[in-house]
Symmetry: C2
Subunit: 200 residues, 2 copies
């Protein structure tokens, strides 16, 4: 239950208003459910604030996010809030003109990150979901030090949420908001498979 009372007031010379405007870097990690789901939930607030939103989906399993994609695209199309842009690595990235070709996943992940860097530099969006972006870092496809330096030095006013298990320590150190989604119990433990409407 949010209380809205900071425990300490930092000695950074900023007013509360200035501090409120600081962009947030959030990390949703851990073994449990809800990492991506909570990021998409945050996108609802960003949409409502009228912010341009972009989602980069870094793991090739398109089935798992089709509900969120359809919903956020539909929201974007209402014209009542922020625009929504959605890029999927598994389909060759939306900005690339030759989708569908089977390519090297490491190269594809690196291309995704290069585009994120361009977007941040150009201030193309105000709310970024880098979904399952911890995995290309973990697998060495994207350089963690480059990610940390880029996010640290990004132009002002751009909020970023990174999701995925095993977030690198340097990213956790940099982040403002880190939540570990801890699995207590999961239907798959009891032999249930995922179902439409709940799992995708």
């Amino acid at each position: 239950m949010p209380q809205g009372k900071p425990e300490t007031v930092p000695d950074d010379g900023l007013t509360t208003r200035q501090r409120r405007r600081q962009p947030v870097l959030a990390v949703h990690t851990g073994q449990g459910k809800g990492k991506s789901t909570a990021a998409f939930g945050m996108a609802l607030r960003a949409w409502s604030a009228g912010w341009p939103i972009v989602v980069y989906q870094f793991v090739k399993s398109p089935k798992w996010k089709v509900g969120e994609e359809a919903a956020l695209r539909a929201l974007g199309e209402t014209g009542k809030g922020g625009h929504v842009t959605w890029h999927k690595m598994g389909e060759g990235w939306s900005w690339i003109q030759r989708p569908g070709t089977e390519r090297d996943h490491a190269a594809e992940a690196a291309e995704g990150w290069a585009q994120i860097k361009r977007d941040l530099a150009a201030e193309s969006y105000r709310f970024y979901v880098l979904d399952e972006f911890t995995y290309p870092m973990k697998w060495g496809w994207v350089d963690v030090a480059d990610v940390v330096a880029t996010l640290r030095d990004r132009p002002d006013g751009q909020h970023v949420v990174v999701t995925g298990r095993d977030a690198p320590a340097a990213l956790v150190d940099l982040a403002d908001l880190v939540t570990d989604m801890t699995k207590v119990k999961h239907p798959m433990d009891a032999g249930r498979k995922g179902q439409q409407g709940i799992e995708w």
Copy 2:
């Protein structure tokens, strides 16, 4: 990263298809961020599946969810997915004709729960978010044993997500999916207050 592979297959005589159709009771608890946010993220999938959705907001702090409410209402109004109904305890509950009067919170919470019981019995919705519903249970305003028995025996096909800290053990025992949102780091630790678009 979802794998979709159950670790065990239960000896319950159900086919995978039947098991997939079992309604889910999920609990998002813990001290960290993302409990409600992930529930609203799940609502995106439910909307996309065309399911009627209802949200019951049990704690009086309307400022904190206005973004999600606006977004989910806007989605419901597109007519492309499920309908969305949103009830707020803090405003006297939407189905009550005399909103705005200052009333006893315990009685109001009990009225909310009574309406949920009616909705479940009538199968009014397919996806229920009982937001911050752990608190009225914790404070003794709603009887935990009644909640557990009602949710256990609810008519089929109705998915329920309960959010809030300190979920009662009996509810956790009953639930299919329990995630503890564990706080690793939060901007308020560094003296930042919440900001629009991120916190509400």
